[in-house]
Every structure is written in structure tokens, then in C-alpha cells.
Symmetry: C2
Subunit: 216 residues, 2 copies
């Protein structure tokens, strides 16, 4: 399989390319030059060329990229034809926001079930998604064939919930808690740490400022 | 300045190190081995050694890391002594979730002002944060000396709001919309694309699965 040689950094950029070509298609644009592509996705041309070289020849020299062709290519690559149901555990503020958001822009991912321990919301439907008691986790995930979960519980519940997810046979966790969770190696954990993102941005800005001051 | 030579990838990991040492300190742990550190932050030892080498010698051979010392070091490095106020533009579901969240875990970042165009919430206080009309953006940011904004407006309002932020003299934008925004080069934009994170996780899982199938 050629897929195995595609670097992780390239994989992380695939949805960005896909989204941009989809955007161009929606706009009615039929072809795009490599310069326009680079400007549009804010990724330098050399990186794009390298990324695309892993995926096979996608553009024609002197012509640029055919938008329809590229949309179809990335759609297939990213399994956009296949619907993936995911679950969300922890229906607090962030959980509710994600339920409402529900990845509507993507055609292929949908939060199909939510879990909480708060009996005042268990049994209700939030933004179209039923909320189950955490005790029903394994049963519902099996029933609905879900193996990806979004973790939006509070920090102090993160590890114990991660244990439940591991027991339920989950294969992937998108962890929004700031806690580094321990799970068996066969489970993929991706971290989205909102405070971290903001702190990093501020750190870069402070550094930019002190560099400018040094130059003055 | 030595700071200028620290790679961006290292900078992005600094808050992770800081948080982990703070966690150990809260727990009452006084020292940690490099192996425990690697396990705790889920970053391989070679990378940690390289990161730390950019920051100066932080550990003693055969001893490991002194937790109190490292907390103090990263706190200073990350300007945790200094409070940074930021603003949030777009008080929808995600905006509300972030206002409630308000980066409470970090001591140094706080959302101090929120902006929206919806007159039914302008003038109210959400999770302790006053909501202003977007027309007051420049005035309030000047007044409150805020130069970092979190962008949580809808996709179709992203670019026009980004223009307003640029006009208001903002230096950094944490963009939660899926839209790639165009702003002057002196403004830093970091992207947090929630759908992208989920899609990438699912893509990795699908790849893991097909690799396992190949092996069988």
C-alpha cells in the first residue's frame, strides 16, 4: 500500500486541501494555479508539491489543478463517501457547543450519541443528539458501531472516562480535556487543548514584540 | 536573544511541559526522571532533550528534573506572571462555551470582552464577560489594551470580521472558523479547526485498520 509512506504531517493537511478545492468548486472555479493554491491554503508551494508527490501526480505542468478532479480525488482519499458516526462524552458547555456545531460542514462525520452522568439531561435530546447515561456507553457504542469518541468531560473525570472508553473498545479519542490520558497503545488519542493554543499564540506574539524591540 | 533560535515546534510544546510540571507540583512530587517526564507528557525522550537544550540545561544527569525549579522556569518563560486580556468575537454556541471555559486553568489569560452583532445579547454579561456591539470593537480594544482576539463567528462572517480586527490593530487571531482569512502579514493567525481534527483522527484510524488488514 502506498498510503503507508505518506508522512503524518501531510495527512494532517489533506482536509485543508480538500476543503479548499471544495470551496473553489462551490464558487464555480474550474482550475487553480499552484500559486493561487498556495495563497489560498496558506501553505508554501514547495510543501504542497511534496505533499502532492506522495499522493501521485495531481497537477499538469503549466496548467495547474483541475478543481473537479481534485475534489473527487480528496473526497475519495478522505473517505468522504462514507459516513462515520462518533460519540461525545461530557455534555457541559463545550460538549453542548460541539453538539450544536456537529461538524455540519463535513459531509461524513456526525455525532450520533452523547453521554453524561447528569440525570437531569440523560434521556433528553440535545441539538438532535440523544444523551445517554455513561453506564450505557459500551452497549450503545456496540449497537451503533461507533469507535471514535470526543472527550469533553471535566479534567478530574478525564482518566476514569478514558478507562471506560478503552473498556468499551473505542479506537480513537479526540481529547478536549487538558489532561494527558493513559490508554492502551492501540487507541489513538488526538489532543485539542484550547488553552494551549491561546498560550502558544500569545507566546509567539510576545516573542515577535521583543524581536522588534531588539531591532529598534 | 537566545529565544530567537528556539524552533516553533519546541515553542508549541512549552505549555505542555509547564502544565505537567505544575501538575506534579500540585501533587506534591519534587523530582521526576526523564523517563517519567516522557511518559507523562507523551513526548519521546530525544525530543524532550532537544527541546530542553534550546532552553539551557534544565536537568542534572542521573538526578532528573527538580519540579519546583522547572515550574518556576517555565512560568517565567511563558510570562505566567503577566496577565493577558483577550477578546472574543462571535457569541454563538462555541463562543459561549469558550466564555464559560475562559481558560480558567491558565493563570495568565482571560477573555475580558466579547463582541457580537445580535442586539438581544449586546449589553448583557455572559459568564462574567460583557458583550459589546461589534461597532465598538476598536474603541474597546484600545481602551482595554487588548491585541489578541478569538474568532468564533460564522464562516460567512469570518473575512469581514477579520478585516475589522485588522483595522482595530489586533496583533493575533485565534481562528475557530474553518475559513482561511486574509489579514496583513504583521498579524499572526493560528487556526483551530475542530472538524479538521476529527477528520484527521478518523483518517489515521482508517489507515491503521487497512494496515492491519494488509498484515492479516
Amino acid at each position: 500500500m502506498t498510503k503507508t509512506t505518506v508522512p503524518n504531517a501531510t495527512i494532517k493537511r489533506l482536509p485543508i486541501y480538500y476543503r479548499y478545492f471544495q470551496f473553489l468548486k462551490d464558487e464555480g472555479t474550474q482550475k487553480v494555479s499552484s500559486g493561487e493554491l498556495s495563497e489560498g491554503v496558506k501553505i508554501d508551494s514547495a510543501t504542497i508539491r511534496r505533499d502532492f508527490s506522495y499522493l501521485g501526480a495531481l497537477g499538469k505542468r503549466g496548467y495547474g489543478y483541475d478543481v473537479d478532479e481534485l475534489v473527487a480525488f480528496f473526497k475519495k482519499l478522505l473517505n468522504q463517501d462514507k459516513r462515520t458516526n462518533v460519540a461525545l462524552v461530557g455534555v457541559g458547555n463545550l460538549g453542548n457547543a460541539l453538539l450544536n456545531y456537529n461538524f455540519a460542514r463535513t459531509n461524513n462525520v456526525r455525532i450520533a450519541a452523547a453521554f453524561d452522568i447528569d440525570q437531569s439531561i440523560v434521556g433528553t435530546v440535545k441539538s438532535g443528539v440523544p444523551v445517554y447515561d455513561v453506564s450505557e456507553l459500551k452497549e450503545q457504542l456496540d449497537l451503533q458501531q461507533i469507535d471514535v469518541c470526543i472527550l469533553t468531560v471535566s479534567s478530574n473525570a478525564a482518566q476514569v472516562t478514558a478507562n471506560l472508553l478503552a473498556d468499551a473498545g473505542v479506537k480513537g479519542i479526540l481529547n478536549f480535556t487538558p489532561v494527558i490520558i493513559n490508554v492502551p497503545n492501540n487507541i489513538r488519542v488526538h489532543y485539542v487543548d484550547l488553552a494551549n493554543e491561546l498560550q502558544t499564540l500569545i507566546f509567539f506574539l510576545d516573542r515577535d514584540k521583543s524581536l522588534n524591540e531588539d531591532e529598534e
